[in-house]
């Protein structure tokens, strides 16, 4: 079946990316809008945490587990810290850590994955086997061991989770990279004599962005869950830094009695995860050009 060319397109000049984004946004479904609004809200809160939060991050008040009131909108936590304040600072810390972790894991995973896809041969073999080895070790327990070795500072937390996560990013980027690396325009670049760095950065990367961005969104969310699971196993973020994963863990026992406190940070994580996924779904749908019926 031949593809049709829009008749009107020939005369039209290229529209800027901004206008494209605008038209795309206009057509975004409700779920995507919802996701975008929530994410923007979170970022807003995270960036302005210092100004929005009613109290200091670690400020302690006399009453622990205070009920919701005018003074403490969401009550206080086990140490008498304002819950709302902790949640707001939690947004800042958690999102910052998750962003840093995901960026690092993508920097490592994508560059190595695309390099493997481009070069194939022994480099690909070595990297792929190394990734196989890493993936065959249970990541949560391995992270636990590594954190015990290197100490659970925020830096090592970020680096370790990022490295263990990067194996998956490697696999994905290698897989999508392979599809692009066989394209003729990559061959053209190789025939021209371009170096690997240029080919990866200019020829391959721009063409594998959609699946990578989608994966970025998902991995970003999983960082929260990983931190929560690690803090469940006793290694996590240094107190008194507020982060949602640890906050869920600290208050988890209250769930058994139907107390809503642990729902707040867990809900914060869940809302963000769902929102990111909505946006990712829409993004994938919009960029894949995959048209199905209806």
């Amino acid at each position: 079946m031949t593809s049709f060319e829009p008749i009107a397109a020939i005369q039209r000049l290229r529209r800027s990316r901004a206008t494209r984004a605008k038209t795309a946004l206009k057509k975004a479904p409700f779920s995507a809008w919802f996701g975008i609004v929530v994410i923007v809200g979170y970022v807003f809160v995270a960036v302005l945490a210092h100004w929005i939060a009613p109290y200091g991050e670690t400020q302690v008040f006399s009453e622990a587990f205070a009920p919701w009131s005018q003074e403490f909108k969401l009550g206080t936590d086990q140490l008498g810290r304002d819950m709302l304040t902790r949640l707001i600072y939690g947004a800042r810390n958690t999102i910052a850590i998750a962003v840093a972790t995901t960026l690092l894991s993508f920097a490592v995973g994508v560059s190595l994955g695309l390099l493997a896809a481009l070069h194939r041969g022994w480099l690909d073999q070595i990297l792929s086997r190394a990734v196989d080895v890493l993936m065959s070790i249970p990541s949560l327990i391995f992270a636990l061991v590594l954190l015990s070795i290197f100490g659970s500072s925020i830096t090592s937390l970020i680096v370790i989770i990022a490295l263990l996560d990067s194996t998956r990013v490697f696999r994905l980027s290698r897989a999508v990279g392979l599809n692009v690396a066989v394209m003729e325009y990559v061959e053209v670049a190789r025939l021209r004599g371009e170096g690997a760095r240029w080919i990866i950065a200019k020829e391959i990367l721009p063409n594998v962005m959609p699946p990578l961005v989608a994966e970025f969104g998902l991995r970003f969310c999983f960082v929260f869950l990983t931190i929560a699971a690690l803090s469940f196993l006793g290694v996590g973020i240094q107190p008194p830094t507020a982060d949602w994963g640890s906050m869920v863990r600290e208050n988890a026992t209250l769930i058994t009695y139907g107390d809503v406190t642990p729902l707040l940070p867990a809900g914060a994580i869940a809302l963000l995860t769902v929102s990111v996924n909505f946006v990712v779904d829409w993004f994938l749908h919009a960029t894949s050009g995959l048209r199905d019926e209806k």
Binding site: T58, Q59, F65, Q78, G151, P239, T253
Partner: protein, 535 residues
């Protein structure tokens, strides 16, 4: 005795005899001036006060690991301690609910030569589970298991003071100590020092054959241990239960849930946060005793800035202990005063003044020390004690108000005792407490103790310690201990924050007498001492 008390007395004795109905009892209670509800409650608790035979109890323990074993060289946590020391085995002595030492496998004990020589006479009726009589040789080999160069026992240091143990005939064991110790029988109650049968001159721990109230039936390390009643137990009538199962439930929420759903009848270390909510469950009851255990923040006094007593004093005044009790332990603890001797222990005397949160005093001492911009690291992990990290967070806040910058360093929980304790200048620590002042001081404050966690070497304190140990005049002894407690309070390197309470929760199905405070789970002996009230 008032009339109402008299009537209640009658009622109680009637129930004890089993010949009074609930309705009759409530009538008598009403006559004695009680409300219906109160009388009913009294009926239930009184009825439950009389031990009954039979039944199966499932006990949820807060610990348990796959490396657990029945080897008494170990017993690292409440699972092994309660199941294998308290239920399966006996030591020579035990500590009762009042804190007094009582004979257990020994029938009696006496000292001579300024408490330097001790003779323990064994019970005649005592037999091992395999029917063999307990002899003095068994005792000697059992204790020697924890002594000597090659022992791996955690109790080794306990017996450091013992120069010689020998059997004097089949029923008497004689101890010769390196120096006099009036409290020696207390040491013999330690949960490691259980008596095992001797086999080829060595203590045979692996067979699981002991003297205790229960016989081991099935043990899956880290999961559960099932024990059944020892019909030939030397204590008359005990134990009451036919069978007990200890279940390792390390997760707090899981433990609480298991009790709520009735899947276990008892849980150790209940969750303080949700205790209030658990109390609303009509089938559940909370048991709380103030133990000997205490949480400390030892400062290494050989290192700057803690080598300066004024810095230590400033920190002692910079901590809001009441807040820690209220928030970390939710009131289920007692404020301590930098003195490790729990109020329930003999010779305990609260030193003055009570250290509390006082920024002015803290600043005063800081100024005196010339360190107005003090910055210190506090190394903590919840491995030290549950809530250590939170407590450190609170300390950081209060210290900040005194001009002290406390940097809380969260250490890895693994290997905390190996890497942090006795290594970092200021960290968190836990002592389960000792039954006597001497024992406590000797292990944690004596200059030559390897567990002197603050490396505190006060010459006067150490002199007093040796003198008091051998002193048999109770009054003089009391004075010496009071002075020592004042010294740790004023000069010592350990900040003793709080004494902890043992908070457990149980189904009302279970009943018991007064609960011993020396260890958790009724002095580890709950299986032997408790019974099922309503079948």
């Amino acid at each position: 005795m008032s009339e109402s008390e008299y009537k209640l007395g009658i009622a109680r004795s009637l129930i004890g005899g089993g010949n009074v109905s609930r309705r009759d009892f409530i009538h008598l209670g009403l006559a004695a001036g009680l409300t219906v509800a109160a009388a009913d409650k009294l009926f239930v608790s009184t009825a439950r006060a009389e031990p009954m035979q039979g039944g199966f109890a499932k006990l949820g323990m807060a610990h348990g690991a796959t490396t657990d074993s029945i080897d008494p060289a170990g017993y690292p946590d409440t699972f092994t301690q309660t199941a294998f020391s308290g239920s399966l085995s006996n030591s020579l002595t035990e500590v009762d609910a009042k804190g007094n030492v009582q004979p257990d496998l020994a029938e009696s004990f006496e000292s001579s030569d300024g408490a330097k020589n001790w003779a323990f006479k064994l019970r005649k009726a005592a037999t091992f589970h395999n029917g063999k009589t307990v002899t003095a040789d068994d005792v000697v080999t059992s204790l020697q298991y924890h002594m000597g160069k090659d022992t791996k026992s955690a109790a080794k240091s306990l017996l450091e003071s013992v120069a010689e143990i020998k059997a004097d005939g089949p029923e008497t064991v004689v101890f010769t100590l390196k120096s006099g110790n009036a409290d020696f029988p207390y040491i013999m109650s330690d949960y490691h020092l259980v008596i095992m049968p001797a086999k080829d001159g060595k203590a045979d721990w692996a067979s699981g054959v002991r003297t205790g109230a229960f016989v081991i039936e099935n043990f899956q390390p880290g999961v559960s241990a099932k024990l059944k009643r020892n019909p030939n137990y030397f204590k008359n009538g005990k134990p009451y239960l036919d069978e007990v199962e200890f279940i390792a439930i390390t997760d707090l929420a899981a433990r609480m849930a298991a009790l709520s759903t009735g899947e276990v009848d008892y849980i150790g270390r209940a969750d303080l946060k949700t205790l209030g909510m658990l109390k609303r469950n009509p089938k559940v009851e909370i048991v709380e005793v103030t133990g000997y255990g205490h949480y400390t923040l030892p400062m290494n006094v050989t290192m700057a800035p803690f080598d300066n007593p004024d810095v230590r004093m400033a920190l002692k005044w910079a901590i809001n202990r009441q807040e820690i009790v209220d928030k970390i332990f939710l009131g289920h603890a007692t404020v301590a005063n930098d003195n490790p001797i729990a109020p329930a222990i003999k010779f305990a005397k609260d030193p003055q003044p009570q250290h509390s949160f006082d920024p002015e005093k803290a600043k005063h001492y800081l100024k005196k020390a010339g360190m107005e911009n003090l910055k210190v690291d506090l190394s903590v992990a919840d491995a030290a004690f549950a809530g250590a990290v939170d407590a450190a967070s609170l300390i950081r806040e209060t210290a900040a108000q005194c001009g002290i910058d406390v940097n809380v360093v969260r250490e890895a929980e693994d290997a905390y005792w190996d890497n942090v304790w006795l290594k970092k200048p200021w960290c968190a620590s836990y002592w389960s407490g000792r039954a006597t002042a001497d024992w406590m001081f000797t292990q944690a404050f004596a200059a030559d103790s390897s567990w002197n966690e603050s490396f505190w070497k006060n010459p006067h304190f150490n002199e007093l310690l040796v003198q008091a140990r051998a002193e048999t005049d109770e009054v003089k002894r009391a004075a010496m201990y009071a002075e020592m407690q004042q010294l740790t309070h004023d000069d010592g390197g350990s900040i003793v924050l709080v004494f902890n309470n043992f908070v457990s929760a149980q189904s009302k199905k279970l009943a018991h007498g007064e609960v011993a405070p020396n260890w958790e789970n009724d002095g580890l002996k709950m299986a032997e001492r408790w019974w099922i009230a309503t079948a």
